[in-house]
């Protein structure tokens, strides 16, 4: 069964008319597959994840998730579909004044009624589950701390603990290791991968650390300038391909830093 089928997909940011963020991308991902997306800054990794999460409407090409075109569905049906896809953006989406337990339990909102959500604000409705999720990222003691008391790395892992509580079948994770030291990075990545294989969920993870990607993921997708440069099994990705992917990254002046471009960014974008 395929989770995603992308055929000649072009995605343009709202308001940014010039160059598309993704250009005629072809990608097929099967259910339960785990793949890493690598590439220089501004390659379109975040846009790809936002598109896959149905948070960014493609301009042209074919996009299907679970065999349907989400943008052909009604607003309600598409929103129901979004509950099956979990997007964890690079910047943890945690309000600073919220308690960690509430922030983590927010993963359950698509399943909860409004009253349950309201009641859980007063008295957390399943703190045990939140605690278990936090323990897996080494944050068990932070359950009742406030988010603004956490360090950057703790916040990032707290955002990922939310992922463990969602019931999504697709996990889209944007740069989960950007604020973590190497030891924590390995723990975090293997926790994510174990969770994905335990529930047979598809895991698509964008990474800056090429060596981590090659060590942990069987399938690597290289993205550059909005195009897929290679999409291959780990064994077939050579050092030369990696070097070509990141070549001239420093003086690639024609490609402006997409991270601070348009007035309206897609949801998953980091800013």
């Amino acid at each position: 069964m395929t989770t995603y089928r992308l055929d000649q997909l072009t995605v343009r940011h709202l308001g940014a008319a010039a160059t598309p963020a993704l250009h005629q991308v072809d990608l097929v991902v099967g259910q339960g597959e785990q793949l890493a997306v690598i590439g220089p800054s501004g390659a379109g990794k975040t846009t790809l994840l936002a598109t896959l999460a149905c948070a960014q409407r493609p301009e042209s090409g074919i996009f299907s998730a679970f065999g349907h075109d989400p943008w052909a569905l009604s607003d309600q049906a598409r929103h129901k579909l979004r509950a099956r896809l979990f997007l964890a953006p690079q910047t943890p989406p945690l309000p600073p004044r919220q308690r960690v337990v509430t922030a983590v339990l927010a993963a359950r909102l698509p399943q909860w009624s409004l009253w349950r959500a309201l009641a859980s604000l007063v008295k957390p409705s399943d703190p045990g589950a939140a605690y278990d999720a936090l323990v897996r990222f080494g944050l068990g003691d932070k359950l009742y701390a406030r988010v603004d008391r956490l360090s950057g790395g703790e916040r990032q892992r707290c955002g990922l603990a939310r992922l463990l509580l969602s019931s999504a079948q697709v996990l889209l994770v944007d740069e989960p290791l950007s604020a973590l030291d190497p030891a924590l990075a390995q723990l975090t990545l293997s926790t994510l991968q174990r969770e994905a294989s335990a529930r047979n969920a598809t895991l698509i993870c964008s990474l800056h650390q090429v060596d981590m990607a090659r060590a942990n993921f069987a399938r690597i997708v290289g993205l550059r300038g909005g195009r897929i440069v290679f999409d291959a099994a780990r064994e077939n990705v050579s050092d030369a391909m990696i070097a070509a992917l990141y070549q001239n990254e420093v003086n690639a002046s024609p490609a402006p830093p997409r991270h601070e471009t348009p007035e309206r960014l897609a949801v998953g974008a980091c800013f």
């Binding site: 979004r82 896809l85 979990f86 800013f271």
Partner: protein
Amino acid sequence: MTLIGLALLWPALVLSEFKPWILFDLQSLGAAGRFLADFLKPAHSPEFLQMVLRETWQTVAIASAGLTLALLGAIPATLIVTERLSISRLGTGRMHWASAMLRQGVRWLLVLLRSVPELVWALLFVRVVGLGPTAGVLAIALTYCGMLGKVYAEILESSDAHATEVLLANGSGRLSALLYGALPESASELISYTVYRWECAIRGSAIMGFVGAGGLGQRMDESTRMMLGGEVSTMLIVFVLLVAAADLVSKILRRGLG
């Protein structure tokens, strides 16, 4: 030149009965002086104080009831108007035409409600429901509904969008996304604005009292007409105390939120 000017001005001054020397007439000077001197010794007879207490209670009740009614209208209006909570906008940047129309309609309604000053609403309602607190309550409810709805929506829109948008993108409902994404950031601002509006409602009900909408304002109007400076002074002190109390309530509530 000056002479010509004066000659032209003179008939106008006569016609408008402009007689500045009346200001310095002994009789009116004495009356004004007494009125002002009375301010220094606020009235404090037990029956007067009892009356002030009763009217103060009525003023606070008018303000609170008006604000509560205003909230009943303002909160749903806020939820409709806040664009950030639009699900159809997600990923496309465009809202569904029906929800865009509804938003614009409610926004116009809020503009209409708050563009008529509460004093004018009060004058209208005094004609409709007669003299008394009901007119004041209704006037406050209508005007403040417009103000609260607009400012609430703006407070919510000016908070950090990231948390709310990610919750929406992960499939949660609009209201849950509001509760878990935007509210933690905006709660203390929303509360402080609400309490400030309550304070404004207390002041507003005093002004509306002058047109017969009940409460302390109506008594103040009567005492002013009878030139009883002491009584006016007592009532002004009560107003200062009420505003100080509102300040205190706001502080306590905000501290409770942490």
